[in-house]
């Protein structure tokens, strides 16, 4: 099939941004790589449909991100998802470290469990602000909320993450970096 200008531009965007998008989606889903892949595939397909308009406005990445974030929040709201994924409390402990495990005693599984325990919008706020380094204004635009809400959600998410990791014992090693 001949490739159009849309195809060329879209493929270049995917080459450049897909991994970054998928890594961020993995954090949004607290390590559920299958769901993250679904979200990214959905976002990129919809981005392709809207490509001429989005390309003109220069908001390709933001458009894809908005779909990923909203689709994730929608997914979380489904009863099936709530039954399977909501985490009222963290596991007893961080569990055994994997071979060649993480330094500082912080296990990746414990961090994912702590992320999973955060409400989805709170998790999105912390990922957008701390992982993607988006501004408060950009995050507010993506989450469709006020900048004040972004600030409070990010602060609460950070504090709760710290408390959850401390509760499991895994956070103890990070205490020094908070001061």
């Amino acid at each position: 099939m001949p490739r159009s200008l849309r195809d060329e531009e879209f493929s270049a965007f995917v080459q450049a941004r897909r991994v970054e998008l998928l890594r961020s989606a993995c954090l949004l889903t607290a390590g559920d790589t299958h769901l993250a892949e679904d979200l990214v595939q959905t976002a990129l397909a919809r981005l392709y449909v809207a490509w001429p308009r989005v390309r003109r406005s220069g908001t390709e990445a933001a458009y894809a991100w908005r779909i990923v974030v909203n689709a994730h929040i929608d997914e979380i709201r489904r009863p099936r998802w709530r039954r399977e994924r909501s985490v009222a409390e963290l596991p007893e402990g961080p569990g055994p470290a994997p071979p060649g495990g993480l330094p500082g005693g912080i296990d990746g599984g414990a961090i994912r469990a702590a992320l999973a325990a955060l409400p989805p919008r709170m998790r999105a706020a912390i990922v957008l602000r701390h992982w993607m380094d988006l501004s408060v204004e950009e995050t507010a635009g993506l989450l469709n909320c006020s900048e004040g809400t972004v600030k409070s959600q990010t602060a609460k998410a950070t504090a709760r993450l710290r408390d959850l990791l401390t509760a499991t014992g895994a956070g103890a090693a990070t205490e020094g970096s908070h001061r």
């Binding site: 790589t33 406005s57 908070h178």
Partner: protein
């Protein structure tokens, strides 16, 4: 916790996220995008074909009904009672990737409808085959505009938020009006004909895809 980014990086360890240098093959995403675009276009075409078929059938049926018993007594009453060529259900919203007008952009339009035109004061969306091409005529069309600078916050109708922002929904005759707080340009008005078959939530869904550009201007009066 100033090391949150490091914690998040660790959460991606042991196979719970791709490596930053993982190779990418865009072919799958390209194929899925093309497939979705094809389905959207087919859905739009189906809507247009349906509308054209109804427009073609109604005059025929009306003529048949007026021609007496020999003209088909079973079909005539049903079609004659429909009165206008309204669709049986609400017209679906589909992603829009056609030409946009200055002042406003939309993410979705009713299936079979297109941006007819616009300027800094209004965006006009109408059925693709609409014979009324004047963008100063709003009758039976979907229109987006900024709230008049002489009007205050809306008070009539019922509450209908748009993307988390406050809005009011009202029906006046054959016209639905949704006035909602725009992201950064004051109140935005969306006017839609009831013939779309939409409820306030569907209208709000459309409104959520409206982007007011910097050159949009509110009217007076």
């Amino acid at each position: 916790m100033n090391d949150v980014k490091d914690l998040l990086e660790r959460a991606l360890a042991d196979g719970h996220g791709p490596a930053p240098d993982q190779p990418v093959d865009a072919a799958g995403d390209l194929a899925r995008g093309r497939g979705l675009l094809r389905r959207r276009r087919l859905a739009g075409l189906a809507g247009t074909v349906t509308a054209v078929a109804v427009v073609a059938i109604v005059p025929w049926a009306t003529h048949a009904a007026s021609s007496g018993p020999a003209a088909g007594p079973q079909a005539a009453p049903t079609l004659r009672s429909s009165g206008t060529a309204r669709p049986a259900g609400p017209i679906a919203l589909i992603a829009y990737d056609g030409e946009q007008a200055p002042g406003y952009q939309v993410a979705e339009v009713p299936s079979g409808w297109v941006v007819q035109g616009g300027n800094a004061y209004a965006l006009v969306i109408a059925p693709q085959n609409d014979t009324d091409k004047s963008i100063d005529s709003f009758l039976g069309k979907l229109v987006v505009m900024l709230q008049s600078r002489d009007a205050g916050a809306p008070t009539q109708g019922t509450s209908q938020p748009v993307a988390g922002r406050p809005g009011r929904f009202d029906v006046q005759g054959d016209t639905q009006i949704l006035t909602f707080q725009g992201a950064d340009h004051g109140w935005v008005v969306v006017q839609a004909p009831t013939s779309l078959g939409w409820d306030s939530a569907r209208l709000a869904q459309f409104a959520a895809g409206v982007q007011v550009l910097g050159n949009a201007q509110p009217g007076r009066g």
